[in-house]
């Protein structure tokens, strides 16, 4: 028989205002097993907790029922208290009389009645609780970082610096991500390449980092501390270990008309190419859709000119299998497609471009060597219109845009406007904004400089439509403050397109069993207190895959995720959730129903000899649960027809006892 103590919390007036806590404490005193019952203002406070510890000692309590806030809030607190008092932490049950009682019921009589029932249900359950101990599992001291943008690079570097091996998987041929495509960075205006490429080199040279580029994650199994991952490293038809990145092949290849994705298809490269000068790994790659050798076996120029013999037309995709203790997702973002924005003539005119295209146009390594010219005729634009919030904050049409604010557009548009005015002072620059959002260190000062020092015209209002007419773009917009409709003849229109998570994130989330929000951003375990962890243990979030972010935020989140990973990998073993399924082999039929429904593959079978009542022996197939793998969902317990499977912490009998207590 348990000796149960019931502790009813007032939660100040949060509970006590609608629940007569004293009556609750009195009403449960005669329940089976209860030997002590008390109420107190703040059970979770230091004083409240020591009250529990003292009561355990004084009354030799074996089980605790805390009538308080949601177990999601303080269950772990009171479990620690129990441990402190010398009883097993799983001998604690919480009756949620705040969120699910006092806060939702206004009548004190009704609230008190319900609180008593909930307390009785918890008592009924504790009567059947048994001490549980966590199983332990080993931690593989290796991390996987998925995505080689600045987020992935920073996470990988930090983890590797702490001494753990890291695999960095990148779907493109080079790491660097979006930041490598940028020209300057706000608010300091240092060049993106100057600060990013040294980091890329650090990654390449780090003894603890292995870059797996042109690759994607194909399968993820296992669990925190013991993930097993299959990575498909796609054929690049160049032997990475031999290629020196001299670039001769990329000059001799006769196929010159391959759209250059790195420059957002604004110019071309050869069928064999190195994405950009500072690419890491600096290794050529063949685009099989354009290479005539791969398509019809004719050519072979690159193989002929390669002095080290790195070209390998026969190269096949390679599957890399590796175990990891932790996984960091850093899958990043893309600008949304603007095809639906006919009013801005994006698909009608070459001179209507996105901000990312603008970055390439002003980048010294870009398709125009940094000369700001119109894509249509190569002339220098004299009037440039920037339109903000294109597809951001759009709630009207899910196909057209995103409901959220993309966060970075205000700042990069200010940067673009400022750079144009700096380099080409005779250019008229208009920025149409809904709001200018500049929270961040030195951000508002930066924006104000664009207006006050550089003379950018910031206009509160939106562009209604852009009509290409001859060589100009007729921009029609409203100026809300002047209460006027404006008509501007622009040479170039730059659209600040909303950003969305990379498409690879959704299938990855499914593989990782990590949850996502409706916009396909990864969900964090807690929006405020655990912002870099996924609710799925062992999965960490880095950069824009979790939500729109600028570079400093991305880097700090990447480092935070790395710190969490390091914290995990420092442990030799992990304590699992002790509430796992257990199979009673005396009752198990070995029918495999449980293994069929187990999402974690935690159940295996073995043949076991059993002595029968008539002294004969019998071999029987019985289920065994691996407690380190089991996550405690309990699906197997219902699939099992014989009831051999039960779930510790939520045993059939415990739940039925709760049902009984509630229905009484």
């Amino acid at each position: 028989m348990q000796r149960i103590g019931v502790f009813v919390c007032w939660c100040g007036s949060n509970i006590a205002a609608t629940v007569d806590v004293q009556r609750v404490a009195d009403a449960v005193r005669s329940e089976p097993g209860v030997v002590f019952s008390v109420d107190y203002q703040y059970m979770c406070s230091q004083a409240g907790q020591s009250m529990i510890v003292d009561a355990v000692k004084e009354h030799q309590l074996t089980g605790l029922v805390i009538c308080s806030c949601s177990p999601r809030m303080h269950e772990s607190t009171f479990r620690k208290t129990a441990q402190l008092a010398g009883i097993n932490p799983y001998m604690v049950e919480i009756a949620n009389i705040r969120e699910q009682c006092s806060w939702v019921h206004k009548d004190i009589f009704i609230g008190t009645q319900k609180a008593i029932t909930l307390a009785k249900a918890a008592i009924a359950k504790v009567n059947l609780n048994t001490p549980l101990t966590s199983g332990e599992s080993k931690v593989t001291k290796r991390a996987l970082v998925i995505g080689g943008g600045i987020a992935g690079i920073q996470s990988a570097l930090d983890i590797a610096d702490a001494g753990f091996p890291v695999d960095l998987v990148e779907k493109e041929a080079t790491i660097g991500g979006k930041m490598a495509q940028l020209d300057k960075t706000f608010p300091t205006l240092d060049c993106a390449a100057c600060i990013l490429t040294p980091k890329m080199v650090d990654v390449a040279q780090h003894e603890n980092i292995r870059i797996i580029s042109h690759a994607q994650v194909e399968e993820v199994g296992g669990f925190v501390g013991n993930f097993h991952v299959k990575i498909r490293k796609k054929a690049r038809f160049v032997d990475e270990s031999i290629c020196t990145g001299c670039g001769l092949c990329t000059e001799k290849c006769p196929q010159k008309k391959v759209p250059n994705a790195f420059n957002l298809n604004m110019d071309h490269h050869r069928a064999i190419y190195i994405p950009f000068a500072q690419a890491v790994p600096k290794v050529a790659i063949i685009d099989p859709d354009y290479c005539s050798m791969l398509k019809n076996g004719k050519c072979g120029v690159c193989a002929k000119v390669c002095s080290v013999g790195a070209i390998d037309y026969q190269q096949k995709d390679e599957i890399i299998e590796e175990d990891y203790g932790a996984i960091v997702t850093a899958t990043g973002y893309n600008p949304i497609s603007l095809e639906k924005y006919d009013e801005y003539a994006y698909s009608l005119s070459k001179d209507v471009i996105t901000s990312l295209e603008f970055e390439r146009l002003t980048n010294a390594a870009g398709p125009t060597q940094g000369h700001l010219i119109r894509p249509s005729d190569g002339k220098q634009p004299h009037t440039i219109v920037f339109v903000q919030c294109v597809g951001s904050r759009c709630a009207a049409n899910a196909e057209k845009g995103k409901e959220y604010c993309s966060k970075i557009c205000c700042m990069y548009t200010a940067k673009h406007a400022m750079l144009v005015r700096d380099k080409y002072p005779d250019t008229e620059v208009y920025v149409f904004y809904i709001d200018v959002r500049t929270p961040g260190k030195s951000f508002d000062e930066f924006y104000r400089r664009a207006v006050e020092e550089y003379g950018v015209h910031y206009i509160k209002g939106m562009v209604g439509k852009v009509i290409p007419e001859g060589n100009t773009l007729k921009v029609q917009a409203s100026d809300l403050l002047m209460n006027k409709q404006l008509h501007i003849d622009a040479d170039l229109v730059v659209l600040a397109a909303a950003i969305e998570p990379d498409r690879s994130a959704r299938p990855l989330a499914t593989m990782l069993t990590a949850s996502m929000d409706t916009n396909d951003f990864f969900t964090e375990a807690h929006p405020k207190l655990r912002p870099v962890e996924s609710p799925t243990a062992g999965i960490f979030l880095s950069g824009t895959c979790q939500g729109p972010k600028d570079i400093p935020e991305t880097v700090s989140q990447a480092s935070a995720a790395a710190a969490k990973v390091i914290g995990l990998l420092c442990k030799n073993t992990l304590k699992g959730n002790p509430c796992v399924a257990v199979s009673d082999e005396m009752m198990c039929n070995g029918c495999s129903s449980c293994a069929n429904v187990c999402p974690y593959g935690a159940i295996t079978y073995e043949s076991k000899e059993f002595r029968m009542p008539d002294r004969t022996t019998r071999m029987r197939r019985v289920a065994k649960v691996n407690p380190a793998v089991c996550q405690g969902c309990g699906c197997c317990t219902v699939a099992c027809p014989s009831g051999a499977m039960d779930l510790d912490g939520f045993k059939n009998q415990q739940i039925m006892a709760e049902v009984d207590a509630i229905c009484k």
């Binding site: 005396m586 009752m587 198990c588 039929n589 070995g590 029918c591 495999s592 129903s593 069929n596 429904v597 079978y605 019998r618 071999m619 029987r620 197939r621 699939a639 027809p641 014989s642 009831g643 051999a644 059939n652 009998q653 039925m656």
Partner: protein
């Protein structure tokens, strides 16, 4: 329809036994009355010659016996009618016995009488009941011999047989049949079309007769648990005798649920029920719901099939949609 005779089965059994292919034969043993046939294990030729029978009352489904019979030394010969073969596969799927220890001989079947259906024709003094072509000939102490069309007097479960195909065997005697399209859900539909009140009354009338003899459970080839939840004090539903009408419903709902997706619709439950409760209508309801909502499925049609309740599709219909009658076509 070609049927096999006792002599064919007997000679097959004798030859397999004497050649050492099998060590035991699972067959039907004659009883005191014509309809009184008992499943039995024969170990010698003389036992077989003496008491092995095969007639229109050999309806017992043998598959379940294999769980214990395969635990013994050597191999066992089993005769599988179409019904039995589905159960056989289902049990194999669930790893309930070792296939290597069984020699399965498939036999065609076009219906078996049972005690209830023959007693409906001749309530008292039955001396003789044999099949003669398409006729069933019955003699009683009082009336002499009468003839009935065999197909007409069969019990419902055989009239509405889902399949005359033996789906697994090492050797087939006679010609194998095919899956039928018998309208076996008509009765379920009739019940579904009743009002809640009417259904409640119907089942109340049926289930209240339950005496919890456990015959349905004990004969069911899907009910093979090492320990039944109803015998297990720890399960929370343990119950030996019915004390309150609730327990009739609890027992039959839970039993039907436990075999849902695994029940091959062999109808043994209804055959053995001493109170003539149409228990198969519970199982068929599940089969019908599964067919309509998750795709047609016959448990045991192949070894290794994943039962519908340990499987899912992401686009399964929602519970309330099914309850409102919005079924997947």
């Amino acid at each position: 329809m070609q049927t096999v005779t006792r002599e064919q089965l007997l000679s097959k059994a004798v030859s397999l036994l004497s050649s050492g292919t099998v060590n035991r034969v699972l067959g039907w043993k004659k009883g005191d009355f014509a309809y009184d046939v008992t499943p039995s294990v024969f170990e010698t030729e003389s036992e077989l010659q003496d008491s092995f029978v095969y007639n229109i009352f050999c309806s017992a489904n043998f598959s379940k016996y294999l769980i214990s019979e395969t635990q013994k030394e050597g191999r066992v010969l089993v005769f599988l009618k179409p019904c039995d073969s589905y159960s056989f596969n289902q049990l194999l799927t669930e790893h309930r016995f070792d296939r290597e220890r069984v020699y399965a001989v498939g036999i065609p079947c076009d219906g078996m009488m049972d005690t209830a259906s023959v007693k409906a024709l001749a309530p008292d003094g039955l001396t003789h009941a044999v099949r003669d072509g398409e006729q069933l000939k019955i003699s009683t102490l009082y009336d002499g011999e009468t003839s009935f069309p065999f197909a007409k007097v069969l019990p419902d479960r055989c009239k509405l047989c889902k399949s005359k195909k033996v789906v697994v065997y090492d050797e087939m005697l006679g010609t194998n049949g095919d899956i039928t399209d018998a309208p076996r859900f008509e009765e379920v539909v009739r019940l579904e079309n009743m009002t809640e009140e009417e259904r409640y009354t119907f089942w109340q009338k049926e289930l209240s007769r339950c005496i919890r003899c456990n015959a349905c459970r004990d004969v069911c080839p899907a009910c093979t648990c090492e320990k039944c939840v109803f015998d297990n004090p720890a399960s929370g539903v343990e119950n030996k005798a019915i004390d309150d009408p609730f327990e009739e419903k609890l027992f039959h709902i839970i039993r039907a649920f436990h075999v849902a997706g695994r029940c091959t619709d062999c109808g043994e439950c209804s055959r053995v029920c001493p109170q003539s409760i149409p228990l198969h209508l519970l199982n068929r309801k599940f089969i019908y719901d599964i067919d309509r909502n998750y795709g047609e499925y016959i448990a045991g049609a192949e070894e290794g099939l994943r039962a519908p309740l340990v499987d899912y599709h992401t686009d399964d219909p929602e519970t309330d949609a099914v309850m409102e009658g919005g079924q997947k076509q």
